[in-house]
């Protein structure tokens, strides 16, 4: 790892701790976070020139505090000029440290994450704010990764911060009944970030793919802070087991290689071992949850040396549990795939027909794709081809559309080999 890369990793890890320290002392997530970004930018230019400070975290807190107090003072001065009856409040009141001892720095990472996943924010705002305040990414980097204009993203972030400040800054652990829900929201945000990077096609957008690594780094950090939480462990396991297949999931032409056709020698064995161990331990010791179940399903796939050796009855049972814990149309659809693998394509098609009542699911390209696959396995190539074509037209991503059109072409009697 290069020095520059090491310094960047160090800064990224420290960013939420510094944000946490400032918010605790001064309040104002909005201006605290701005000040930390300025301190990070200062570190990027000064550290390589002057050498690493003895205590990088303290250095960042000092520099960010100075920026923030300058800002607060100039705001204050302006207010004084503007208001005839000058407020009889010394500017120093803002900088008085909070009473009591400072909690350990690392807890701040978690508190800032939970603050960024405040229920008052929309999911895209939670994602953007988390990447900036917890991940330490710049607005420009996040905008490039999400392919949105920088001005739009800056607007999203500043509005999110103002909303949190307006909702009444409650830095520190959220009240107990809220905490669980807030942590679930944080895990959802981390999973969204992971998926955004994971589904990006190879070579197309490097910054976007780096989101996967960033999500895994942050999830690992949360797992280190909350080692006994089964869902945190489950999410980290799910990420490891999913990312382990990265090299095998895309063909040279950029189209998607389905799980059944992947070259399993390309799977990352170390990541699979780590993910499997994590989820096995979580399932044994913690309350069961959807991330653990999804990780367990990924682990069953991972342990099969060949696609034909997959333990489908076990996967079907796990989907049954998942459907009970976290019901949803996509879970039902995936369960139907597993059901067809155990009971045959005809039985699967009958089950699929029952899902058709859900109009949104029935219109989704994955519904048509599953139908096509089952029809193909049942030997009805004409209907399968039509279903693949329908799925291809409905898909809204290039790799998926290419894959589905390719399957349709393979069943075309005129082009079949």
């Amino acid at each position: 790892m290069s020095d520059a890369r090491a310094a960047e990793d160090l800064l990224r890890g420290l960013a939420p701790q510094v944000v946490g320290a400032l918010v605790r002392r001064y309040g104002h997530l909005d201006s605290s976070e701005e000040a930390v970004q300025e301190a990070l930018a200062a570190a990027v230019t000064q550290w390589p020139r002057d050498g690493l400070p003895e205590d990088p975290r303290a250095w960042l807190i000092t520099v960010a505090s100075r920026r923030l107090t300058d800002q607060l003072r100039s705001d204050e001065a302006r207010r004084r000029r503007e208001e005839a009856d000058a407020l009889r409040r010394p500017a120093d009141e803002h900088v008085a440290p909070a009473a009591g001892d400072e909690p350990p720095a690392e807890d701040d990472t978690l508190q800032v994450l939970l603050l960024c996943c405040h229920p008052a924010l929309s999911p895209p705002s939670r994602v953007a704010l988390t990447l900036r305040a917890v991940g330490g990414l710049t607005t420009a980097e996040i905008a490039a990764a999400y392919l949105v204009p920088e001005a739009t993203l800056a607007q999203r972030i500043s509005r999110a911060k103002q909303r949190i400040d307006a909702a009444g800054r409650s830095f520190g652990p959220p009240p107990a009944p809220e905490r669980g829900e807030r942590l679930r929201s944080a895990l959802q945000v981390l999973y969204l970030i992971f998926n955004e990077g994971y589904t990006a096609s190879s070579g197309l957008n490097l910054q976007r793919r780096e989101l996967t690594a960033e999500a895994m780094r942050l999830t690992r950090e949360v797992h280190r802070l909350l080692p006994e939480d089964g869902e945190v462990a489950g999410l980290l396991a799910l990420m490891l087991l999913t990312d382990a297949r990265r090299a095998a999931r895309t063909a040279r032409d950029g189209s998607i290689v389905p799980l059944a056709d992947q070259d399993r020698s390309l799977w990352d064995a170390a990541a699979i071992a780590e993910g499997t161990a994590l989820v096995t331990r979580a399932l044994r010791h913690a309350a069961i949850g959807p991330y653990q179940l999804q990780a367990a399903i990924a682990a069953v796939h991972a342990e099969a040396p060949r696609a034909e050796a997959t333990d489908w009855p076990q996967i079907l049972a796990l989907y049954g549990l998942l459907e009970r814990v976290a019901p949803g149309p996509m879970v039902s659809l995936n369960r139907t795939v597993a059901y067809a693998m155990v009971h045959g394509p005809e039985a699967g098609l009958a089950r699929l027909a029952q899902l058709e009542d859900d109009e949104r699911l029935a219109r989704h390209h994955r519904f048509a794709a599953v139908r096509a696959h089952l029809l193909e396995r049942a030997g009805d190539h004409g209907a399968a081809r039509a279903a693949y074509k329908l799925a291809g037209r409905r898909a809204t991503s290039f790799p998926e559309r290419r894959y589905l059109e390719g399957r349709a072409a393979r069943l075309d009697p005129r082009t079949a080999r």
Binding site: A128, L153, Q155, R249, I256, R366, T396, S397, P399
Partner: protein, 121 residues
Amino acid sequence: MKYMLLIYDNPDTREKMFSGDAGEQLLADVDAVIAELTASGELLGSEALADPSNTRTVKVADGVPMVTDGPFIESKEHMGGYLLVECDSLERATEIAARWPSAPFAPLEVRPVMDAGGEDM
């Protein structure tokens, strides 16, 4: 998810938009919706197109560009502009389209934008 909202126009809406108090109101309403979508962080871009009489159509035949003045398809309704938005759902994109000030006079189309990534199959 990103959606393109294609704003359709016809000679009547054009006239309304550029004449009298009603037109001024319409443009003010447009500004208000744009400001709101900018504040919410949903707006990625938006442009209005000049009158279709300014259109030039280009087609390449046997490697030679064939250029003609006027629109490719003669029709009463034509593209008047677009909004590119990013929002949580198709329902939300539909809601934005329904609020667009010209929607009472000419339709909008809501279309998902293709993504470069893809989920596992």
